[in-house]
């Protein structure tokens, strides 16, 4: 059967990664992968995906951020239960960290295949920028802050930052892990403890964020990769961005450790969150299609496909039983942290899209409006956490 798969991976590396899925599917099964790519972020793709499912003409499989996004679809019985595949392939044993599988599980049943791990908690630093400014490349957040005036004097932007909401909200998340500490972070994000959010640990985060805001004031790019480009070219000192950024450094021919430095957890708390992408399978009437869906699910989790896919995508595989020899420096750092178990669940899994949306709104405003004080922002932040569901 022709199995249509929708996703929003349309850039070069992403498309190449998807192609690995398609190739494996076409070669290893009797079915055919029909690509339904929609560019833009989830905001563009999601209504399309939901409409298709609601309209009774669903696709065979679709990308969705796992976590809470799909809960309602599952409750409505619109998504296929693939527990049998997971049991047969023993996912429980191989998926690492296991939280990835948990977020695909509702009432003990598994509804999605996690395909990769992305982590947000990185800062990328430009060696050239610091050289030009005559200061050493920082090794943690404090040093980074301390070096900022020197950079500015040299006509550089200490912190590169794009305009998109998710970048700003993400950067704040990274800072809160590094500055407020893991316990406080957990209290806020897992327990939704508004008191902690309003408390002194988070006050530090907001103060730091005000500082960061000043450092990023002259960064006028829109897209995240344009911001990354500023780090690559030495116009900016650093950028807080997820692990996907290193793809850009690679394309530019830069070498980790020589041309740039990556610090997980801003060099303070070396932990990474384990977000990532997952595929869901809308329920279909045709048993043939169901069979194909399950075959695809199984295939996506298989070792060979995981390796092929993640190498192209630049993300970490979801299986603990894979060695990635070809991985670069930063990726290896990530793998090590992963192996050590210093992991946190990602915001996607903990907060509803609505809450995240509100946080993004807050962060967008906070980062772009210098008159927005730390106190006000923290108050609002605590309120959102308090009302989170």
């Amino acid at each position: 059967v022709d199995l249509e798969v929708t996703h929003w991976w349309t850039s070069g590396g992403e498309a190449a990664a998807v192609a690995e899925f398609a190739k494996a599917f076409d070669e290893n099964t009797s079915h055919k992968w029909v690509d339904g790519a929609i560019a833009g972020s989830g905001g563009t793709a999601r209504p399309i995906i939901i409409s298709r499912i609601l309209g009774g003409k669903p696709m065979g499989a679709t990308q969705l951020n796992h976590g809470r996004q799909a809960e309602e679809l599952i409750e409505e019985g619109l998504l296929l239960d693939i527990t049998d595949v997971a049991m047969a392939d023993g996912w429980k044993d191989v998926v690492n960290p296991s939280s990835l599988l948990d977020s695909c599980t509702l009432d003990g049943k598994i509804y999605c295949v996690p395909v990769n791990i992305h982590s947000w908690e990185w800062i990328w630093l430009s060696h050239q920028a610091y050289e030009d400014a005559g200061v050493a490349v920082p090794s943690n957040w404090e040093e980074f802050v301390a070096a900022a005036p020197a950079l500015e004097k040299a006509g550089k932007i200490p912190l590169a930052m794009g305009q998109q909401a998710w970048q700003r909200s993400g950067a704040f998340g990274v800072m809160s892990i590094a500055i407020a500490g893991i316990d406080a972070w957990k209290a806020v994000n897992i327990d939704k403890d508004a008191a902690v959010a309003a408390g002194p640990e988070y006050k530090k985060v907001f103060d730091a964020a005000v500082n960061a805001r000043a450092m990023a004031a002259n960064s006028k790019v829109q897209d995240w990769n344009q911001a990354t480009n500023m780090v690559i070219t030495g116009q900016a000192g650093g950028q807080i961005m997820g692990d996907w950024a290193q793809g850009e450094f690679q394309v530019a021919g830069q070498v980790a450790g020589e041309d740039y430095t990556c610090l997980p957890g801003l060099g303070a708390n070396e932990v990474i969150s384990t977000g990532g992408d997952a595929f869901y399978f809308p329920k279909q009437d045709d048993p043939e299609v169901t069979k194909a869906q399950k075959e695809l699910a199984s295939l996506m989790m298989s070792q060979a496909v995981q390796v092929a896919f993640n190498l192209k995508k630049g993300s970490l595989p979801v299986r603990g039983d894979i060695e990635l020899d070809t991985a670069n420096d930063c990726m290896k750092k990530g793998l090590k942290i992963l192996a050590d178990g210093n992991v946190l669940p990602s915001g996607d899994m903990l907060l509803s899209a609505d809450t995240q949306g509100q946080l993004e709104d807050l962060m967008v405003e906070f980062w772009s409006d210098t008159s927005y004080s730390a106190e006000d922002a923290q108050k609002r932040y605590a309120a959102i956490i308090g009302s989170a569901d």
Partner: protein, 275 residues
């Protein structure tokens, strides 16, 4: 003086087009270093080729050409049906008033102000119940519905300006509702049809949201590829390809505008002037 103002205004309107054309013929390195207004040092048509036949959408790398056929396939029936419905509406509203007809019309005009995002889900559900969801005809229907307010307004105004006596003469001659519509009104309505066609071609050709929400990938219009080319969040932005792609996508409505400019003004004159 008069011409001076006109020429300055013309420059303002032409500037973006110039930028698009110029950029689409530059190589990427040139774009990075130069400014947007500089003419290309080395003219290249590679971006056009790429936009048309090589740019990737997911794993399909056949550029805009992939959606072109679909766009045409969507465009023709949508334009046809939406104009047919709207013209019949306008005709009925101006010549065959019945109790409440003006109320429906008023609702229709207010409908033009509803942001259509709001209606996505209910329409999905309606189409599902009609069994039209995901098909070409479902999309055609959606385009007809959303084109209806403005088009009906134009047609109504136009047909109101046709002398009532003509309509009476046709009734005395024994022509019925449809007879009068097809044999008398349609042949006289060329200018307003041109206007309607232009508005609809533009709207439908440039539509992205409906095309992608109410159909399946095999029917995705060209704008989906355009969106994919232009909106790829990650990776380097190939501005030259983007511009080439946008120009390619806009070509059909542009040509229609240029060809039918005079008729357009005439039609507007007939359809818009009477409030």
């Amino acid at each position: 003086m008069l011409y001076g103002v006109l020429i300055v205004m013309a420059l303002y309107y032409l500037l973006p087009l110039y930028v698009m054309v110029v950029t689409s013929m530059k190589g990427m390195p040139e774009i990075r270093i130069g400014n947007v207004f500089a003419p290309p040092v080395e003219i290249t048509f590679q971006p056009w080729v790429k936009a048309w036949s090589e740019a990737c959408t997911g794993i399909n790398c056949d550029g805009l050409s992939r959606g072109f056929g679909n766009s045409i396939q969507i465009l023709i029936p949508s334009v046809f049906l939406s104009i047919l419905i709207a013209s019949v509406n306008g005709y009925a509203l101006s010549n065959w008033k019945f109790k409440g007809s003006e109320v429906f019309f008023t609702i229709l005009v207010i409908g033009a102000f509803i942001p259509y995002q709001v209606m996505l889900y209910p329409i999905v559900i309606i189409l599902r119940e009609l069994g039209l969801y995901g098909s070409l005809w479902g999309l055609v229907l959606v385009h007809s519905v959303f084109g209806m307010p403005i088009l009906t307004l134009l047609f109504r105004n136009y047909f109101s300006s046709v002398p009532e006596e003509l309509f009476k003469a046709a009734r005395v001659d024994g022509a019925g509702f449809w007879g009068i519509y097809f044999k008398i009104m349609l042949p006289m309505a060329l200018p307003i049809f041109v206007v309607a066609i232009i508005l609809q071609v533009t709207g439908i050709w440039n539509d992205f949201l409906f095309g992608v929400i109410f159909t399946e990938p095999s029917l995705y219009p060209m704008t989906v590829q355009l969106n994919n080319i232009v909106n790829s969040v990650q990776g380097v932005k190939e501005y030259n390809v983007n511009m080439a792609a946008t120009l390619l996508t806009g070509l059909l409505p542009l040509v229609i505008y240029l060809v039918s400019g005079k008729l357009f003004v005439r039609g507007i004159a007939a359809g818009a002037v009477k409030g």
